[in-house]
């Protein structure tokens, strides 16, 4: 049953992302992308990563998408008739690059099938102990990075 849910959600993710990539209207693209992120969060939950699923919903679908919507509405960019659409040449180059990359990655992923015994899923307690003991320094670095991003965004956004 979990397998069935995984494949249904995978289809939802791929279709929603496809529509968001093809969409001319930025606001519609953001809504499609939020749908895709919700389905992806459930996929993370099925893959035994409930914490990542929660952060995906809170930070990606909650914060980042709303930030995009805020900027689109503040700058009044949600006018597809005014926006320039991608030219045929750009789209052809993008399709060629995408096809080559997809073929390469899928060939690798299908042919190099590693078989390992099924590992027991991690509990959140072990995960947190692991995160703050072994990667404690990296957590500090990430907090500094967020602080620098805040200062940089303040500097760029001030009125002069």
């Amino acid at each position: 049953m979990e397998q069935g849910i995984f494949y249904i959600l995978a289809a939802v993710v791929v279709i929603a992302t496809f529509f968001s990539v093809r969409e001319k209207h930025p606001v519609h693209a953001i809504i499609y992308l939020a749908t895709s992120f919700f389905a992806l969060a459930v996929i993370f939950y099925l893959l035994a990563a409930p914490l990542v699923a929660a952060f995906e919903v809170i930070i990606y679908a909650g914060a980042i998408m709303v930030l995009f919507l805020f900027v689109i509405m503040m700058l009044d960019l949600g006018r597809p008739e005014k926006a320039m659409l991608p030219g045929k040449r750009d789209r052809g180059i993008a399709l060629l690059l995408s096809a080559v990359t997809l073929a390469a990655v899928i060939t690798l992923a299908v042919h190099r099938s590693v078989s390992m015994p099924a590992a027991p899923p991690m509990r959140i307690h072990d995960f947190a102990a692991f995160l703050f003991s072994r990667y404690g320094f990296a957590v500090e670095v990430v907090s500094m990075q967020l602080l620098f991003a805040l200062v940089g965004a303040l500097y760029l956004g001030r009125r002069r």
């Binding site: 930025p26 693209a29 035994a48 995408s98 899923p121 967020l146």
Partner: protein, 102 residues
């Protein structure tokens, strides 16, 4: 692990390629380019989480948390840049920003 690792990797590569298509084809709109980068980063997170579930190690989940933190920093800076550039030239077309060249 409920599904084979290769299926997760195929889904992740599909997502990555769609993000790359978005980034390369939408050169006329900075917002759509940023959306493409978001899709690509999500594909990377999916690959990390699939690996963590396959090998039963926590490193993949830790790195996906770091990617999420990095993305929030990146998006806040990038959108501040978009607002700044729009204030200067009233445009979000990347072809308009050639100040270094002139």
């Amino acid at each position: 692990m409920i599904v084979p690792l290769s299926h997760v990797l195929v889904l992740s590569s599909l997502l990555f390629v769609m993000g790359m298509f978005c980034l390369v084809s939408w050169r006329t709109n900075l917002i759509m380019m940023l959306i493409g980068i978001e899709i690509m980063l999500n594909a990377a997170i999916l690959a990390f989480v699939g690996g963590a579930a396959f090998w039963g190690a926590a490193d993949g989940q830790v790195f996906s948390l770091f990617i999420i933190a990095m993305t929030s920093a990146e998006v806040s800076l990038a959108l501040a840049l978009v607002v700044y550039l729009h204030r200067r030239k009233r445009s979000v077309n990347s072809d308009d920003f050639t100040m270094l060249k002139e």
